[in-house]
Symmetry: C2
């Protein structure tokens, strides 16, 4: 494999995949996009990125876009940006792209994505990363990036080696994406969950923006309890999240103003919510570690009800 000048496949080029793959392509990398619903639009008009860090476009005669992974070249690096609710598609979408030494980097939300990739394709291939970015697909093939954008990534299991993570991070950093390598990916995952569980969880389940979630004392109490439960679950998983992160997260949330999490957007548009990756899998880790997380448990159950409910023949629109 050439991790120095890799052939890159982006699997699931929604907003996140289009943006990061687009940045790499814009900076001369050999990027191949696997696109499903927007394939025709991207073929016709290319990728259009409206970004707070500078608009750009990958024109249709330049963009390498596919709707079938079997037509794509085998890659040195596969970047997985599918929604985690499509993880049952890993085998047909990723397997055709693999050589013996292909690395797989998942930038998906939540827990369990690396595990599933490792199970299917071998643990030594897998890296994971967190994308800290406010981004939306605003039309087919058109993505709007409004804030942040940095990536933190690390090896899934081989914490001692950085010979893959470092060059990948360097490549992002050379493509206008700030990227740092984590010694401990699990720390990064749990740290991000400490925010995502209360805010994506309550935001989507109660259909409230982040500022509405913390508008009441009861909301603040629930958020703090959830964050402490995440700390306890993380500890059982071998990760110690500092107590101060609770108030740091709240401070940061207040500074954001009204923000709609991706899971709330999914809910409002009647699309599948990432309930398992963001709530279900962390809850199962807590249970496996013998840790009680009653608020997370109630939230998970409510999220399942909402996830089914909002996809029930659009009843809410009838009256």
């Amino acid at each position: 494999m050439s991790i120095q000048d890799p052939t890159i496949a982006v699997v699931g080029a929604g907003a996140v995949g289009s943006y990061y793959g687009g940045r790499l392509a814009q900076h001369g990398r050999d990027v191949h996009f696997l696109v499903r619903s927007d394939y025709d639009a991207v073929r016709r008009s290319g990728l259009v990125i409206e970004s707070c860090d500078g608009d750009f476009r990958i024109p249709p005669d330049v963009v390498r876009v596919y709707n079938d992974p079997r037509r794509m070249p085998r890659a040195d690096l596969v970047i997985v940006t599918l929604k985690s609710t499509s993880n049952d598609q890993f085998a047909p979408l990723v397997r055709p792209l693999l050589k013996d030494d292909t690395a797989i980097l998942t930038l998906q939300n939540g827990l369990g994505n690396e595990d599933r990739l490792a199970e299917l394709f071998g643990v030594e291939r897998v890296l994971g990363g967190m994308a800290f970015i406010c981004i939306n697909r605003v039309a087919p093939g058109v993505v709007r990036h409004t804030d942040f954008g940095f990536v933190r990534l690390g090896e899934f299991t081989r914490r001692d080696r950085r010979d893959r993570a470092e060059p990948i991070a360097a490549m992002f950093n050379a493509s206008r994406v700030k990227c740092e390598v984590l010694d401990d990916l699990r720390f990064g995952r749990w740290q991000k969950l400490m925010w995502n569980i209360p805010f994506n969880g309550l935001g989507a389940t109660l259909d409230l923006t982040t500022d509405q979630v913390i508008a009441s004392d009861e909301g603040l109490r629930l958020v703090r309890e959830l964050m402490q439960e995440v700390r306890a679950a993380a500890r059982a998983d071998g990760v110690e999240l500092p107590e101060e992160l609770v108030e740091t997260n709240l401070h940061y949330t207040r500074s954001m103003g009204p923000y709609k999490t991706s899971m709330q957007v999914d809910r409002q548009q009647g699309r599948a919510m990432e309930v398992e990756a963001i709530l279900g899998e962390p809850l199962r880790r807590a249970r496996a570690g013998g840790v009680k997380t009653p608020v997370l448990e109630a939230l998970y159950r409510a999220a399942l009800v909402v996830d089914s409910g909002v996809r029930t023949r659009g009843a809410a629109h009838h009256r």
Copy 2:
């Protein structure tokens, strides 16, 4: 007091008050309406009732409408149809209407309304009733009644006597409102809560219609658990709700199709939700009886967050 031909005051003539007061006025009773927000509209155009049991109108030259209880005649019967979130207005709104023997009938939702009225005005005055009706205010002074309409009422504490409840029920029955007298008002209250707690509670908190709430196995499980918790809380309050009511309620809910509870409507319109009467007070009764109701507790907390959240400077509309 003349309970045979009473002077009637309706306090809080929203949808429910306008409808029942309107039916009584339509059938020749002496009804005086205390109206707040819609006062000008009712003065100008009267009360307009579009009803599945027959449209009718109380014209402006006939309707007796007030915006100040001190201008109203003292009543033999005060019917309270305020939203329970305005119960802090009982003293100024109801006291001016009372004679020594005035009866007070609250048709409000949930628990605690009779108690509060008894505390302020004397327990011997108080009756309570449940209005089973699908009704909405569609414009100022205009009410649309789409289904059901019957009332069940009873004495708050004096279960042995029916000499007030019977004539009041007879008066409703003579005015095209089916009405029956309950031996045990508390049974009726808890029985109605067995439906209202899961469906108003989850419907408003998760912003789902009734069919969406029960669209998933998890939703059905939560509803059944809540109904069993209500049974346990009722038992601690001296009321035995038969087990069969669980499935009867579910059967009845399925037959309704997509239905938006009043609390969900309040939520969507950014109005105060009846969280305390429907969730908080039943929870406090359970606690006082030493009964654990963890799902109700979680639901109550979430409802408080939503109730504050949706009244937070309309943030959800910003993006």
